[in-house]
Amino acid sequence: MAILEIKNIHKNFGNTKVLKGIDITLEKGNVLVIIGSSGSGKTTLLRCLNFLETPDKGTISVNGKVLIDGEDKATLSDKIIRKNRLHFGLVFQQFNLFPQYSVKDNLTLAPRLALKSEIKEYKKAHGASAAKEEKARREKEIQQNTLRLLEPVGLSEKIDSYPCELSGGQQQRVAIARALALEPDILCFDEPTSALDPELVGEVLKVLKNLAESGKTMVVVTHEMRFAREVADHVVFMSDGVIAEEGTPEEVFDNPKNERTKQFLQSII
């Protein structure tokens, strides 16, 4: 069974139809790369996946379970959304690290807050002293996990630095580690290298490549065509709110059938 199934997603902003029926399936461990010209709806699609926008129509399912249904209000309540969105992680174009927190605190903030509410439940079930022990144990786990997350992005030494002390490439790598800290099933990237100086693009793409090789399921919006060709299992070309063409990297890059895909690929080289 596919890990991710997107069916017939529609999204309007007022009178502008931005997504006009998007269907995508993605197998576990695969990398989906989305390409397309500016304004074609790539960011909007990722935002729908991460519940930052609610689709007007269509469903998003993970492991066969419908997480969001644009026409079913029950799936759109704050509480349900907060629970379901953790299936996804999102790395932003602008990193969006929390400037007042060190690298370590950026990584541990969300897990620690989640732990806090879990321990409340645990306390009800097992009593105060057991809860205290459990809390200490889990907190230690979170700390150790931080080290484990920073190593593959090559930033172990920066654990106590603040975002303003890091280069753009380093900040983006921290943002990736932060997204991974919550162990999402599917990690989404919205043009993760577009805000970077050219010489810093490589280090971030390398991290993405390693993640892909380690079997992480990923959805990547990017303009880095060489990277897309190397890493993608499946490529989707979006145009004007619909999928104009899709297939393996070879199919889309080497033998595009759609006129607009051809034009786009030419314009980008």
Binding site: G89, Q94, Q100, L109, C164
Partner: protein
């Protein structure tokens, strides 16, 4: 003579500080509530609050003080002259002037709350939406996002304008003498009337200077403390 003057002025400065302290105590939280109102997604609330802020910021504090001090008394006198007053009119007839200090405090608290609310609003709206969204995708609740992510960044942003406004407040307290609250300038002026000497009035400036100097140092310290990060 010098010591007598110093003692009198210190007494007046005590009133000044009281007015200053209580104004902050009420205006700081009230301003936050007003700023939430002015950012409300419910349009009628938003416009009501914005109009209120516009009126308060668009008229002199001195006038507001006078209205709050004399207003209730006028309403009371007027209402008590009506024959066969209804429930509302009988109630209005019980209105009388506030205590002088209370009237001044009410005017100051409302006035400064409106100025603070604009500073808060600027601070909150200046935080990039990406910060909130990053919190959202990490599964944080709205409350957690406000307290763990937004608040600290807002504080850092508003410290400089707030320190300006607060130092202005110290000086604005001198307006209270208009309705005979015995703050420090009032005490200094008294010496002109009673003894025919003017230097005590000049001397009051030293008190303001020292106090504002202390405030500047405190705000500088806070700013420095928050300067461990940028952004």
């Amino acid at each position: 003579m010098f010591w007598q003057v110093t003692k009198d002025l210190l007494e007046g400065f005590g009133t000044t500080l009281e007015l200053f302290g209580f104004t902050l105590l009420f205006a700081l939280p009230l301003g936050l509530i007003i700023s939430f109102g002015s950012m409300s997604r419910f349009t009628p609330v938003k416009w009501l609050v914005k109009t209120f802020v516009w009126i308060i910021r668009g008229t002199p504090l001195m006038l507001q003080m006078i209205i709050i001090y004399y207003g209730p008394g006028l309403v009371g006198t007027y209402a008590s002259q009506i024959e066969n007053p209804g429930i509302i009119m009988s109630w209005l007839a019980t209105w009388s002037v506030f205590d002088r200090f209370v009237a001044v405090l009410v005017a100051f608290a409302i006035n400064y709350a409106c100025y603070f609310s604009e500073i808060y609003r600027g601070g909150i709206e200046g935080i990039p939406v990406g910060q909130k969204e990053a919190g959202q995708v990490l599964g944080l609740t709205k409350t957690q996002i406000f307290f763990k992510i937004t608040l600290m960044q807002v504080i850092k942003r508003i410290i400089p304008p707030m320190s300006n406004e607060i130092i202005t407040l110290v000086k604005d307290t001198s307006l209270a003498r208009i309705i005979a609250v015995y703050e420090i300038i009032f005490m200094g002026q008294n010496y002109i009337k009673l003894e025919g000497i003017i230097w005590p009035l000049f001397y009051t400036g030293a008190f303001y200077l020292v106090f504002n100097g202390l405030l500047t140092i405190v705000f500088g310290k806070i700013e420095k403390k928050l300067s461990y990060y940028r952004g």
